[in-house]
Symmetry: D2
Subunit: 486 residues, 4 copies
Amino acid sequence: MRPFLSHPFDDDKLKEECGVFGVIGVTDAANFTALGLHALQHRGQEAGGIVAYHPDHGFNSARRFGYVRDNFTNAAVMDTLPGQLAIGHVRYSTAGSKGATAIRDVQPFFGEFAMGGAAIAHNGNLTNAAALRRELIERGSIFQSSSDSECIIHLMARSIQKNIPERMKDALRRVEGAFSVVAMTRSKLIGVRDPLGVRPLVLGKVGDGWALASETCALDIIGAEFVREINPGEMVVIDEKGLESFHPFERKTSRFCIFEHVYFSRPDSILGGRSVYETRRQIGVELAREAPVEADLVCPVPDSGTPAAIGFSQESGIPYAMGIIRNQYMGRTFIEPTESIRNMGVRLKLNVNRALIKGKRVILVDDSVVRGTTSRKIKDMILEAGAAEVHFRIASPPTAWPCFYGVDTPERSKLLAANMSEDEMRDWIGVDSLRFISLDGLYRAAGEAEGRNDKQPQYCDACFSGQYPVAPSDKIEQGFEMKAAE
Amino acid sequence: MRPFLSHPFDDDKLKEECGVFGVIGVTDAANFTALGLHALQHRGQEAGGIVAYHPDHGFNSARRFGYVRDNFTNAAVMDTLPGQLAIGHVRYSTAGSKGATAIRDVQPFFGEFAMGGAAIAHNGNLTNAAALRRELIERGSIFQSSSDSECIIHLMARSIQKNIPERMKDALRRVEGAFSVVAMTRSKLIGVRDPLGVRPLVLGKVGDGWALASETCALDIIGAEFVREINPGEMVVIDEKGLESFHPFERKTSRFCIFEHVYFSRPDSILGGRSVYETRRQIGVELAREAPVEADLVCPVPDSGTPAAIGFSQESGIPYAMGIIRNQYMGRTFIEPTESIRNMGVRLKLNVNRALIKGKRVILVDDSVVRGTTSRKIKDMILEAGAAEVHFRIASPPTAWPCFYGVDTPERSKLLAANMSEDEMRDWIGVDSLRFISLDGLYRAAGEAEGRNDKQPQYCDACFSGQYPVAPSDKIEQGFEMKAAE
Amino acid sequence: MRPFLSHPFDDDKLKEECGVFGVIGVTDAANFTALGLHALQHRGQEAGGIVAYHPDHGFNSARRFGYVRDNFTNAAVMDTLPGQLAIGHVRYSTAGSKGATAIRDVQPFFGEFAMGGAAIAHNGNLTNAAALRRELIERGSIFQSSSDSECIIHLMARSIQKNIPERMKDALRRVEGAFSVVAMTRSKLIGVRDPLGVRPLVLGKVGDGWALASETCALDIIGAEFVREINPGEMVVIDEKGLESFHPFERKTSRFCIFEHVYFSRPDSILGGRSVYETRRQIGVELAREAPVEADLVCPVPDSGTPAAIGFSQESGIPYAMGIIRNQYMGRTFIEPTESIRNMGVRLKLNVNRALIKGKRVILVDDSVVRGTTSRKIKDMILEAGAAEVHFRIASPPTAWPCFYGVDTPERSKLLAANMSEDEMRDWIGVDSLRFISLDGLYRAAGEAEGRNDKQPQYCDACFSGQYPVAPSDKIEQGFEMKAAE
Amino acid sequence: MRPFLSHPFDDDKLKEECGVFGVIGVTDAANFTALGLHALQHRGQEAGGIVAYHPDHGFNSARRFGYVRDNFTNAAVMDTLPGQLAIGHVRYSTAGSKGATAIRDVQPFFGEFAMGGAAIAHNGNLTNAAALRRELIERGSIFQSSSDSECIIHLMARSIQKNIPERMKDALRRVEGAFSVVAMTRSKLIGVRDPLGVRPLVLGKVGDGWALASETCALDIIGAEFVREINPGEMVVIDEKGLESFHPFERKTSRFCIFEHVYFSRPDSILGGRSVYETRRQIGVELAREAPVEADLVCPVPDSGTPAAIGFSQESGIPYAMGIIRNQYMGRTFIEPTESIRNMGVRLKLNVNRALIKGKRVILVDDSVVRGTTSRKIKDMILEAGAAEVHFRIASPPTAWPCFYGVDTPERSKLLAANMSEDEMRDWIGVDSLRFISLDGLYRAAGEAEGRNDKQPQYCDACFSGQYPVAPSDKIEQGFEMKAAE
């Protein structure tokens, strides 16, 4: 049975595909992991898994569809995961583009090697996975899942190194793309970030133990102290003797994903030494400077547009207001909905605060425009409620290119900004004005006072610029056309 | 099996106990009802039920624990509820105070009378239900549920009137307390509000049909036009010939529940001709006037404190900020949680935006203080994150008395304000200052320019004032002591 | 959701509709009740329920669809049913004729009266239930279920007697038809049998406590000693002081259901002082005398034809053999089967022992012929396997009339014997010979040496004779035509 | 969740561990497979799986705990398994000895190879699986399951052959022990039997297609014609061009499992050209000759003792009777039973026909004695019911050695016959006499007129004789001591 048949209420956002967490040296490590994954649920809502190790009980795992809070808070499940060392993973997968996830695709993946077992959880995407998979199958590996991440464990199985951390280095040197990996053996917790550091990974201290997590908000929930980020290209190996750091890859200049600042990460996380919330608020400030407009109210499209709307209001002096109210009881769990429910779309999730909006000139601040379908529906709702004018301000540049580094994006032809100019988009959505923040403005808000360094961009911004820091070789083989050099 | 064993993550709020909805004259009335109940889910999250009538298929019903979106969007369920006439109910019940709800306690209740069947859904609470139940049992009625609302259907069964609307009048003249009732026969949709109009009930027009709902937000979701409120003491009977209005009760001055403005209703609903959002924002304005304080940030306790925090910021000029971030994946569905999850409490739901809060003087705006337990935990979190000062501002007067009209309140001894002065509460919570809005301030924010008329208060404010507009006779019999006359 | 949508694998048998059990004075009475119901599962396979009473925990109940062993052996369920006094019920209901059972139709039924609660479980059928129900509704009773048995609890609620046993007498004097009732109050276990004693009810002693059950096999499973049958028209009231016997009804000559001997009861039960197994074996002996035939093998149609086949073999000297093998993994739980599964019919359940049957003249002994559909399919299977001749011998007379006393029978037009002579049935089924035991032969096998007393028959044999000992008044009102007097 | 936590109602039998089925060239092959597995359910009751292939939909699989009829008759499941080629597997596994089966241990196993996918289902046991697994892991294979059978698919993945049938030959030449394998590629159905032919595998023709099954009863249910057995050491490869037969192994003299005749196979199956039922009946005849005793009744221990009891009665002239009645509603699905249910043991399943047994001298015929625990309980029940004498006659020789070829047996120290002489067993069980059939008698009943050829036994009878036709190398490594040469 496929529990998430469809997503009729797709909110037209890019989706982060994974969150990872690991902890060592604490009683009930699996419980800590469940909490960490709960804090990272926004990075992957479809399924989650935890592997724990206990000297008397060996490796145990549980993998479930649905929210962490619905599966991994239950004593009957958690009692099966004893030990002081555990890792976990939450994942998202679109039904349409990839087929429904089977439970066997849910990470962490586990492999039994001659020197003992290991489990890994991967956030990111390998751009040469298809080629690797072909090669591994030819050499006799049997894949359990349709997940590209499984290549890592097979590469480890075939490594001629004598211990698991060395085998992991071997394996990760063969893969290309973006990866933040949390792994475990019977005695070690391991964290690795790819040489560009595209996806986040942070280190925390909790009592005498250590934690690794995609974001700092997952350290907060378990009461861990944020120590530092794992550096791009760094591998940390933690056991009872302490933490060792390695740099197994060729050194490269870091290219952290700027969209983590715009949308993926939680506002209470700290990325690159900066509050995500503050960066988003500052985007609103920049937007108000770049694209001012006379109006009565600044309203966020809830919830992701809120910090930028606050910034816009503060910079422009136009009052901030909740013009659109979000239904708190929406989830992603509509199972085989009726046709009429399916047609309700955005109304199930959002309602206009009619008494407030009527007769007003409204600025709506949203984080991004992907297909533009939801933007149109929101505009319809606002106008039906009697708004005098509707102005969209978008807290990111036009999203014109797909991401191949661990974010679920529609194919290029479905991206509104790949097909239309800003003016065409304004007309298609049907609003009085539509403005996106500039790429330089975004970089400034993210702390780069000089804006983007076009020679050597400080971030990965391929979804805006089409400049891919790692060639997506599998996709190119399948026919994807890179942006022509300018 | 009891799906909601306990509420370890109780957020220390008063809980509205019910939401009601009904619709007539539309294709797939049950689907409309599901949507309406989804919009009213905040009024009752534990369980829901729908009854529909179709001339060929008779009355059909479905009752389920859990969210509307998880149960009543499924085609397999909704196909069993054909017809153009349907009513529905969502309910909340605390495990601790009343024992877990059995599915037989989930409304609507249905009764087969000599002249045909009828179903009713009730929002409110009958203050003489225990006495009525005793009397009915003595006369030979068999109760199906432990719900007080079932009295109404038994009183109807025993009425000597010849048709169902008349029997309903008979029955409702025997009950005391607060009730907004939506009912249906094979051909009629009926709505009634008690003479004081304590709980809301609104009327909408949808195509050629009509809808009744607890709040206007449930009309919005189905695209219905808001016509008017059902008046206190009014009964409307709607069939294919149209709407008839009756006033079966002795006339009284209305006493609408002021807490609906403060917390229960959704901010996008319109109550008494006023936007709930605007009233809440205005409470913040009044609070900033009544209880100003020097600070760096005004932060809402999410999500219910948000409109008042916006108003406080606008009136005081202190910047509004998201100092506390809410985890969007919390629900009320922790089933048999582990001990360590149970101990996490508020942390599972809220996280402090540490980078923002550090070193700042913070004003926290919350809607109410009930037991005070959550307020203490939030203060702890804010101080741990390094705030320089913490000032609480509360958008309601001290809650010192239990509600007997359909709101779940702890017994009086558990209410912080029943046991402490404002200063004692400040010290117990451990903040630099704590101030509640005055009762007059609240009335002003709710549109009463002169404040509260103490001779004949415009609202029911018993939870603040101890002045109960209907004597809670069952409770008095059980030993509850009313406030001594002043 | 309706768990038992259809019965594509209907085995074309009459179905007993209920089994009842009760026990007092033992620790964990509900566990004993679960065991007793498990032993009575053949009397009702669709659903079961248990009510238990404990002085500290009051009345508790659990009602479930499915087998007793799947629901009432689970510690999580049984822990909710503490106490030394419990009753239970298993039920069968056909989907086609009555609509799927709702869980609220599952007994025991519970009623709260002014002097305390009572629960009842009923085996049998009330022939004036429709009229009673109409009358009760007119007087203001609200029915919870579509079950006729619920009338009893409403009649009790309206009785003016002061205690529950007296109220039960009052109620049962108003009902007509067949009933074996087990009931309980907070301190008493009650058993009653209708004046004709149509359905069985037996009394056992278990330690210091007592048990009541439909059949003695349910006493065996709990290790209880069989004391005696409850007499027709007797009511026993058991509490800690002991057992009292009453005879509240007008005395009548008993008319026990003879089909209990033929098919309904378990072969290891004792009815009327006789082993059911032995009576069935003796039917085979009588059949061999009445309808001998030359053949090579005597094979039972499993499993109900087995004892008669043994008797036939012993009397005739023709070897007994297992010519048809029953799949032990069949159940009644095919949920929404595929079309091709649906078409398999009897093959899913039975397979011919081909190597044995080939070339043989086979006598098949079955307990009864209802619609004849299964008999035809079995004949087809036997002939396909290469049998030389097929002779059917039936351990009951032709079933030509419906039962209105608690057995599910097709309407008369569907009964093969209501429409055809014995020869016509033989040709329609397509066998070399077909013979039924005579009514006198059946009575002899059941211990009546002189056969049937046509003036005052010793048993109820209405399904064979059309002579109904209680007029089926509801059915007559609906148009059923009784047999013309001869 | 582990659906089959324990088996408190263990019936003290050896358990066949698997049944296999495959079909090609029919519409809805998966439905046929479900039916075949239903007929083979007695060979594995814990879980089942089906893999089907359709050119447009690729390979699809479903694996479930529980009975075939509960999982694979449901249209929602079966619709996901389109195609004209499918294989399936049912399995048994004891919780105690091996830990609960995870769903990933449920076959068929699937592997994607460079030339396409293949699925295999295995009945039997590999005696060198542990050594193979170690070797494969050292070379970089990742095992998905704890099942030994998975070795086959990894050996296939590493073969250097160019097509799947050749790879399967390669793989099977590396394994030792007993195997009947059914496998499939995108176009071929493959069946293989080990050189000794320990486990059965038969071939059938169904319309234009072909079927493979563990037993002929699975051919009967789908209406297939039984063609022949797959020969020991034979591989058949079937595709649209027809059937090809190979003999890839070194030739050996066949050693079919004689216990298949005694107990494992269904009585309506044909093994080695003989009716299983007839062999069992003949065992009873031999037993009556070898171990006669004066008595009043011959009663089978249901249901497996029935054919031998019939034979015993026919040979001895002592009447056959149903002295013990089996509850038809027992299953293996008691989930977390209460303590008192757990203690009921055999009573839940069997009841004595008291009225029949009282005062009688009873011969009980059972198929085997393993631990003897159930035999003792049955004796207790019979004596409690008042039998005058109890004589056990066992339709197999004393079971004194464990099976390593695909049957679940207790370890040797738990086998009653490994620790006691026949007289000691009689005393320990507490019966008047106890006799087992001789090994020669068993061979005679199985068609070997001269009895057992001790030089070159015609069957595998290691469980009786301790003579293992394939050395159990993994077990010997773990310390198992073979029988000393005589």
